[in-house]
């Protein structure tokens, strides 16, 4: 390659045969293994892959942020004509923030909590342009904040990060990235920690900045739908290798690599209905069991295999028509929850209503999806239903019994009928308790004394949720996120509950793992006739598992109904707004939605 001044034609980022190796006790880990791509000036590239695919390692390598760690980097990374791999520390520092700026995943953590945002923005400029005066730098910071859509930037520049919401903080991080007019902006999962509507706003902003400022954009995400509408080209990574690379339309429409196809199939789609998803899952399952059966009848004596699985599993579980449902399993009447918020001179508490009166009935075998953004009260509601919280007002009936104000003692026998699966499979399992004990404890608590019996039951269940019986004695750290969530599901199932409340059960998982866990939940519902309350912020996921959907906002249900009708013909403006913000896979459709959002925002302002 020639040492030419980068013109508009030459790529602003060029990565060739990049390899990143981490030496560990168990030998070298090849996090990135021969990756190549280019980003033309003003172009946009998406890097997509699941956790462990090497996408974040790649983005850190682009910034030269592996310096000082043990990583061994070979190959070449050229940013604005400067080779990152061989550059001196000083040259590298001059490049960071100046030629290439980075936006990180978690805006809550990526700003310094003890300096004002103005201070941090000014620093970002003055480290590269010390000749710019302080007041001039401040003026630029105000303009930059204004550019990313922070209201009253003149005033807000003196605020600390904790005085901003998550979406606003991410805007501040982006504004900081813009301070030196970089040639390329590198955004590593910039919207993963944000709500759907905020995610759409941030993605729209990135797109707008790219077109207005002619800046290159590298968008790294685990979600194909997130990058679909924002990039021209996409690289699909797996195990440190690009399995597919090309124009985003081609890759999404006619994926060549089987992995890309699998990834695309796993992405939850807002336009796929509950019935379609169930039909697909059941057909796949029937086929799978048929294959297994054929294999086992071939291997062992016939007849035995036929009796192995209960026939019930294949019988499609059709919930009875509404009139014949009889008494609801759960009846929630106008429940509300008040929290006291301390403040004022003498620590007086002011009331905050997290849930402001919600009513619904839940019938056996049904799934109610509760969807809403953070702070909508969906988790508080599910905790009241579980009676982990006592409702301030209203009434909760479970199987006809009023449990609203029952004491913990009275509740204990009922606890086995209602179980919960939590969001974070990493923190909801005690790291010092074996998987077998974690699952079996519930049995023992409820009075089972026979250790062998507990063990047998737990092992059967482990197999049922797709794990091995000999995982019994292992500790949680030996399992991946998806496997841990299976363990959590087994733990909820061991007491054969009637109702399971899933609080964001898949939001911490990769798309393909997400898909597997959702499939498992639906199979278990078929087999055990379970009733679910499924709480999530992801509209697509909720649609696929729910018979009915309640959309929550600020402690109230703004819309509730049959899931297809809520999604096809939303009656409330808020639901429409949410649906409009949900990322979609089709790049053309994504751009249409974006245009509509921009119009809507222009009208509003």
């Amino acid at each position: 390659m020639s040492e030419s001044v980068p013109s508009s034609a030459s790529p602003v980022v060029r990565v060739e045969d990049l390899r990143v190796v981490f030496p560990t006790m168990d030998g070298d880990v090849h996090a990135v293994n021969g990756l190549s791509f280019e980003v033309p000036a003003g172009g946009a590239l998406g890097i997509v892959g699941e956790s462990g695919s090497g996408k974040s390692v790649t983005s850190l390598a682009l910034m030269g942020l592996h310096r000082g760690s043990r990583a061994r980097i070979t190959g070449s990374i050229e940013v604005a004509g400067q080779d990152v791999v061989s550059a001196s520390d000083r040259k590298l520092r001059r490049m960071r923030g100046n030629d290439i700026a980075m936006v990180f995943q978690d805006p809550m953590q990526s700003l310094h909590p003890q300096f004002t945002v103005g201070n941090q923005l000014v620093e970002a400029l003055r480290v590269h342009r010390p000749e710019v005066s302080r007041s001039e730098a401040r003026a630029r910071a105000v303009r930059s904040l204004e550019r990313v859509g922070i209201p009253h930037p003149q005033k807000r520049i003196n605020s600390y990060p904790h005085e901003f919401s998550g979406g606003m903080r991410q805007r501040v991080v982006i504004a900081m990235g813009l301070m030196c007019d970089p040639k390329v902006l590198l955004a590593d999962e910039p919207t993963t920690a944000l709500d759907v509507t905020v995610q759409a706003q941030v993605l729209d902003l990135l797109d707008e900045l790219r077109t207005d400022l002619g800046m290159g954009l590298i968008l790294v995400s685990h979600d194909l739908a997130v990058v679909a509408g924002s990039v021209d080209e996409v690289v699909v990574m797996r195990h440190g290798v690009a399995v597919e690379r090309g124009d985003v339309r081609t890759v999404l429409a006619e994926p060549e690599h089987p992995y890309t196809r699998a990834l695309l199939a796993a992405v939850p789609r807002v336009d796929l209905s509950r019935a379609q998803r169930r039909a697909r899952d059941r057909a796949e399952r029937a086929q799978r069991t048929r294959q297994e059966q054929r294999r086992s009848t071939g291997a062992t004596a016939a007849g035995e295999a036929g009796a192995k699985e209960p026939d019930r599993a294949f019988a499609p579980f059709t919930p009875e028509p509404k009139e014949e449902r009889g008494e609801p399993l759960l009846r929630v009447e106008d429940v509300a929850q008040r929290f006291g918020v301390r403040g004022g001179v003498w620590g007086r508490t002011t009331d905050f209503w997290a849930v402001k009166g919600v009513s619904f009935d839940l019938f056996r075998g049904e799934t109610l999806g509760i969807v809403g953004e953070s702070g909508s009260g969906k988790s508080t509601l599910s905790r009241m239903v579980m009676r982990l919280l006592e409702p301030t007002r209203g009434r909760v009936e479970f199987e006809g019994r009023d449990i609203t104000h029952m004491s913990e003692r009275e509740l204990r026998p009922l606890r086995r009928d209602m179980q919960m699966v939590f969001q974070n499979p990493y923190s909801s399992l005690n790291p010092r308790v074996t998987v077998g004990d974690a699952i079996g404890t519930a049995l023992r608590v409820q009075g089972e004394r026979d250790g062998r019996k507990v063990r047998r039951q737990v092992q059967e269940l482990l197999e049922r949720v797709g794990l091995e019986p000999d995982h019994y004695n292992r500790f949680p750290h030996a399992f991946s996120g998806g496997q841990r969530q299976r363990i959590a599901i087994a733990r909820a199932l061991i007491l054969k509950p009637k109702l399971i409340i899933c609080d964001e059960p898949v939001s911490a998982l990769d798309v393909s793992t997400q898909d597997q866990v959702l499939r498992l939940l639906s199979e278990l519902q078929d087999d055990f006739g379970l009733t679910y309350i499924f709480v999530a912020h992801d509209l697509a996921v909720v649609r696929q598992v729910s018979d009915r959907v309640a959309v929550m906002r600020a402690g109230e249900v703004v819309e509730m109904g049959d899931s297809d009708s809520v999604y096809e013909e939303p009656s409330s403006d808020y639901t429409r707004q949410l649906l409009n913000a949900a990322p979609v896979l089709d790049p053309e459709h994504a751009r249409e939605l974006r245009a509509e959002r921009v119009r809507r925002r222009a009208r509003a302002s």
């Binding site: 910034m63 942020l65 001179v345």
Partner: protein
Amino acid sequence: MLTYILRRLGAGLLLLAVVTMVTFAIFYVVPRWAGRTTEQLATMYVGRAPTPEAIQATIDRLGLDQPVLVQFGEFVRGIFLGAEYRFGRDVIECAAPCFGYSFQNYQEVFPEIVARLPVTASLAFGAGVIWLVGGILVGVVSAVWKGSLFDRLAMAFALAGVSLPIFFTGLLALAFLVHAWGLFGTPGYVPLTEDPFRWAQGLLLPWLTLAFLHAAMYARQTRAGMLEVLGEDYIRTARAKGLSERRVVLKHALRPTLTPIVTIFGLDLGLVLGGAVLTEQVFSLNGIGRYAVSAITQSDLPVILGVTLFGAFFIVVCNLVVDLTYPLIDPRVRIHG
């Protein structure tokens, strides 16, 4: 901000009141639970000649036969308004703030404490500066060069500092550094106003000894805190901006590291100001700690009570100062205050 200050001040005053009550209870109520009679109690206040008449006089004088609450009221009144003890024709005056009167030495306690305060304060502040600066410096360098020879040596040294008591390190220092090798002059106290140079010279060894104990803790705390902060996302952000490593460490990482250290420093300084008992004893510095030790050996209850209250007062005040400086260090406190 003002509400925060007011609330902290209120809490500080409340705490002082509680401390006074508890201390009073320890000296006036608990001995009775242990079965001491009023006469036995009075004997401890009587002074050098415990004749029955003298004892009875003491009981009358101190109101030891009065209900506990009345006695407490008298005690609190003494702090604010001063007290008078009648002894036959003699009237002993204890001017406000009266923290008690030593009948063994015929001295008011408060002026005695105040007279010794410069010694203890000189010791505490001098040592405090050394252990704070030294501990943080060592901690930062250790964290940045984690696993280096310096780090390992410093941490071993720190472990020694935490584990070795003053009466060991102090005596060792005296034996070798002063007497055997003559590197330091004999420790002693010369008022700062009289001769700043001799003031520092005389206190240097006590400072170093006392600082060694505390610096060790601070070095370990700083190192652990710094390592944690260096792993934070906002440090990665700072590096991604193109800041130099020095700026990253000294501007972005140091401040959050120091936040919890300020809290500990306030407590430690308060504790030492209330009397660095061992250090003063080892180096024969006539400070508050030594005053307390002599009172304990003589069972001079009023003095012990006075010193205890005084010490508690310092801890509460230092805590208050820390609480009030906290919002300056960590902006998030302002909102939640």
